[in-house]
């Protein structure tokens, strides 16, 4: 089933949504409008047999706008199918949680918030998951330095001045060659 076939069977189930097929090398990939994510997942699970949400992750495409793409990897065991949903999210954008459809989204979305700072509306437990509770910033963002050079403090929250932050950024810059 390619992306267009999935869009054709999905469109009647989610009225008013404009899906968009994306090029891919492995399996079908569909762009979903941010406000239709929950309805789309509901339709995919209940009508098209995608029982498993295998993965939710995100990629930061700084300086492009919209900045983030949240990626959902769905799996249908009964139909031997895989599907990738992608949602474009602006730098200050939020997204509705799909916890109600797939309970497994709970920690996956929490990790995306922890690492990228994308807020999932309606999430029941949006706290730090991998980083310590008093951590500042969202480390997987592209404008976050790789290493913050600062003496270790075990009791106070991490504070980095704007100058230190910028200096770290310059120091860590790697050359990307085409």
């Amino acid at each position: 089933m390619d992306a267009q076939a999935i869009i054709d069977s999905l469109s009647p189930l989610v009225p008013g949504a404009s899906f968009e097929a994306a090029p891919s090398v492995d399996f079908a990939t569909v762009y979903v409008p941010a406000e239709q994510v929950v309805a789309t997942c509901q339709a995919l699970r209940d009508s098209l047999g995608f029982e498993v949400l295998a993965e939710v992750t995100c990629a930061d495409y700084l300086p492009r706008a919209p900045r983030y793409e949240v990626v959902y990897h769905l799996l249908s065991v009964s139909k031997r199918l895989r599907l990738r949903l992608k949602v474009r999210v602006a730098a200050d954008g939020t997204l509705a949680t799909v916890q109600g459809v797939y309970p497994s989204a709970g920690w996956l979305e929490r990790e995306v918030w922890d690492m990228f700072g994308i807020v999932f509306d309606g999430h029941n437990d949006l706290r730090r998951l991998l980083m310590p509770e008093d951590w500042e910033g969202h480390p997987q963002r592209k404008d976050y330095p790789v290493q913050i050079q600062k003496a270790a403090q075990t009791y106070a929250p991490l504070e980095v001045s704007q100058e230190q932050f910028q200096a770290n950024l310059v120091r860590d810059r790697v050359t990307r060659t085409h």
Binding site: V52, E55, T57, Y102, S104, L130, P132, P139, R176, T177
Partner: protein, 393 residues
């Protein structure tokens, strides 16, 4: 008696508790011995591997991802290498595929051995660990033989393998394959009909197929609950469709069922490994013939200018990968290991994300142990076979 004041007790388990497989912290709320709620806290082993990978060249990421799930190192690197090869559009020679299958199955056995040892140790069958680790030593010796490194061999590379198989490889693997079936019988003799082991594990920690799917658990945990999903059968990679093997299934969904599924998996892995070993010739191709990715042979580097240039290009600048994204799942010992990579067309990955089966298993843990007894928590954690390095990455 009804006017006696009762209250629940909060117990902190971990992060240094020996039965939490690393550093997992559980805050348990107990009513007597019955668990009211569980709050897992993870992240103690978070090392930012995914962030680090974005700074490295494509081929430098292999040793990094191997350190995620440190008991199934080559399952990580296989997933990563297959994803990058998917983006590059590379097709491996048959011999490379067969060697990768053999390595992946030996890795599965090694991981299951640690699991059976620690799981037995935690619920009272202490000697299990010694039996299991003794056999794993032989597998680590094989790793040492092929790569000089026992835990993280980095033998699987983008575009093939690091080098050809060493002399004596076939004999050493064959010796293990001949010896191991009797050892599985020995393990089963120690546990399968052991009355104490069965009392600790039967009827404990139920995970049905539907429960597993809802919480994203695919792998041995779901297969113990009646699912037949196995990436090797459903989405074959590296030539698994040409091997003859069965996917072990149980239907009970309790800790004992997961034990039986994993033991049966070791037997199936042996079958696959035997078939793979028969197909592999002692010497032959060990990489694809794409000069963008695979360094030229050393004798050419010393004698031909073009080869020397190519060698330096790969080791200094690295190679570029076409822009795009790929996700290739493999069946790791703990379930579906997948690697999602994004490339911006340069010599460094834009994003690397591992799907971690242990992460999903710990997320689902509260729904499994709530309402059960505190003594069963250890049995359930052991049976889900979590590795904190995999979970926290």
């Amino acid at each position: 008696m009804s006017d006696i004041r009762t209250e629940t007790m909060t117990v902190n388990m971990g992060p240094q508790h020996p039965s939490t497989h690393g550093v997992l912290r559980l805050v348990l709320e107990l009513d007597g011995e019955v668990i009211q709620s569980v709050i897992p806290t993870i992240g103690y082993l978070h090392t930012g591997i995914e962030k680090t990978a974005e700074q490295k060249k494509w081929q430098q990421v292999i040793p990094l991802v191997e350190r995620m799930d440190y008991l199934a190192a080559q399952s990580n690197s296989l997933a990563y290498a297959l994803s990058v090869e998917k983006l590059l559009g590379l097709e491996m020679p048959q011999r490379v595929k067969d060697i990768r299958v053999l390595i992946a199955e030996l890795q599965r056995i090694a991981s299951h051995l640690i699991w059976i040892g620690t799981h037995g140790l935690e619920i009272g069958a202490v000697s299990m660990l010694f039996y299991a680790v003794r056999e794993r030593e032989l597998l680590l010796n094989i790793n040492e033989l092929i790569a000089g490194f026992r835990f993280f061999p980095s033998y699987i590379r983008i575009g093939g393998l690091r080098e050809d198989l060493p002399r004596g490889f076939h004999a050493q693997v064959q010796e293990f394959l001949d010896r191991f079936p009797a050892k599985i019988d020995e393990f089963e003799g120690l546990l399968t009909k052991n009355d104490m082991y069965r009392r600790r594990t039967e009827g404990v920690g139920f995970i049905t197929k539907e429960h597993a799917y809802a919480w994203g658990l695919v792998g041995p945990i779901a297969r113990a609950g009646g699912s037949d999903y196995d990436v090797r059968k459903y989405f074959p990679y590296s030539g698994y469709e040409t091997y003859d093997f069965k996917v072990p299934i149980a239907t009970e969904g309790d800790v004992y069922a997961r034990y039986r599924v994993r033991v049966a998996e070791m037997r199936e892995s042996l079958k696959i490994a035997k078939q793979a070993l028969d197909r592999i010739s002692p010497t032959g191709v060990f990489a694809c013939n794409d000069t963008r990715v695979v360094p030229p042979p050393k004798d050419k580097v010393y004698s031909e200018m073009e080869a020397l240039i190519q060698h330096f290009l790969i080791y200094s600048q690295g190679f570029t990968v076409p822009a795009g994204e790929a996700y290739v799942p493999v069946e790791g010992p703990r379930g579906e290991h997948g690697c999602y990579i994004v490339s911006d067309g340069t010599n460094r990955p834009w994003r690397v994300k591992m799907r971690a089966p242990s992460f999903m298993a710990i997320q689902a843990l509260p729904t499994v142990v709530q309402g059960g007894l505190i003594a069963d928590v250890v049995a359930v954690i052991g049976s889900t076979d979590v590795v904190m390095g995999d979970c926290d990455r």
